[in-house]
Amino acid sequence: MKQQAHSPLDTSAIRRDFPILSREVNGHPLVYLDNAATTQKPRQVIDALVHYYEHSNSNIHRGIHTLAVEATEQYEAVRAKVARHIGAADERQIVFTRNTTEAINLVARAWGDANLREGDEVVLTEMEHHSNIVPWQLLARRNGVRLRFATITDDGYLEMASVRELVGPRTRLVSVVHASNVLGTINPVTEVAEVAHAAGALLLVDAAQSAPHMPIDVANLGADFLAFSAHKMLGPTGVGVLWARDGLLESMDPFLGGGDMISVVKEEGSTWADVPYKFEAGTPNIADVIAFAAALDYLAEIGMDRVREHEKTITAYAMDALHRIDGLTIHGPADVDDRGGAVSFALDGIHPHDVSTILDGYGVAIRAGHHCAQLLMRRLGVPATNRASFYIYNEEREVDALIDALKQTIKVFAE
């Protein structure tokens, strides 16, 4: 096995915590390089989920009995842990949702419906995931707001000149992805925040691909809203996080109505619970939120700056190896300082779905498709891309396996 030349992480030790990484796929050891879609879960997270159901399962916020109190305490402790993880001053700024998509929809509904009118503008970018496009298109259909799309450069950077040109007196919100799920590009969010705030607009940051991979400090980021998903950072599926700057949630209408989000319900109308409970109608995903704490602990133990260093190392190694393959083109920034560990590429004359099928035969899992970013696919002039994406447990030998399988793919399609 090759030594990890520069990674600060002991990947061998980390891998022992992930039961799934020892399985085989099609007779080969699993090489899991689809981490931008979802990450694998360490034993600690799986155990936390089982432990909750075996010891504390109960509904929260309403029972008087011991289990209800335990479950409520555990659930609320995660809110505080999430706040610490992203540098939020107050845990009441944290709303649990199902995923990033629901968090953005929450803002589009609860903030957008209450504050935006026909003629107002929302500025997005060409590299957004559908989850940061479609909620705003639905909002535009409801109240006539206009969507503008900031452009990107051919090498996958956001054009700040385009952002400055589009953001103006009519702009009420700028909503940008922090790290692109296709290009890997890390956007200069703080710079975008300055432009947005100078125009009196708010900034929403889609952190689905950044919160799992680098330190996030909302106190210095400049964002007004930040959204991300637990399942892309070792946690269970079904848990998303919306963070909102102090005072914003208080000024918003509820998102969904029902149990747990009310204060007093009368026939003629109701009053709402305090934030953040106003935005968590019905029984939430208690077990998965509680297990998410184990994921945050796992990442905190490693340290997010070391997570980032490891990914830069393995991404640089992968990009260098990919570049050596004839007929292979990488989309997105070449400099690993400007990008995360999602690496999209094209093989001349071979469609990504064919690549992915052959790689799967070698146990190598990558993503092939439009990655829920059809605007970006059109901008790049491709129908789809191949994407390998890395996380804390990936090793250089797995990149080697990817490269070998890609060479086999080229052989299958060679005349």
Partner: protein, 157 residues
């Protein structure tokens, strides 16, 4: 890195399929067509466009366009070769036979010819929709009444 044997893709990427993918037949525009149908697999982006010229119930000429993986494009190329010059009824029969081969893993009848090469796709369930796309488009092109009903349904949803 692995001692496991190399996987064999001969079932899926048969030489006939790769040949149609590299050198598609009847690809491009069609002058004087009187039927047009398009299909898209939204999850993967495969796209097939068919233009036909129907002369008295016979497919006088056919051309395809679009983009996508080898399976989707080769299937469309083979489709055009197979149904050109056939009656609508014959084309519908071929379409049903291909569907049965892909979805029910039925042995292809001899008259399917080259299309038999798509048989291996049935062993890759996630790829069946790639091979089927052009046949769905053909069905819509040949039977426009069902298309209209479907579109109406979609619009009311």
């Amino acid at each position: 890195m692995s001692r496991a044997p190399d996987p064999v893709f001969d079932d899926l990427f048969r030489e006939v399929i790769l040949d149609h993918y590299r050198r598609p037949r009847n690809r491009g525009a069609l002058a004087g067509g009187n039927r047009h149908a398009e299909g898209l697999n939204p999850t993967c982006g495969d796209e097939i466009i068919l233009d036909l010229r129907l002369d008295d119930g016979v497919i006088g000429d056919i051309a395809f366009g679009g983009q996508g993986c080898s399976i989707s494009q080769a299937s469309a190329s083979m489709l055009t070769e197979r149904v050109k010059g056939r009656s609508v009824a014959e084309a519908n029969d071929v379409q049903r036979q291909v569907r049965a081969m892909l979805l029910e893993a039925k042995e292809p009848p001899a008259e399917l010819g080259d299309l038999e090469a798509l048989q291996g796709v049935s062993k890759f369930p996630v790829r069946v929709k790639c091979a089927l796309l052009c046949w769905n488009v053909l069905h819509e092109g040949l039977n426009p009444a069902t298309v209209n009903t479907k579109q109406d349904t979609q619009e009311t949803l």
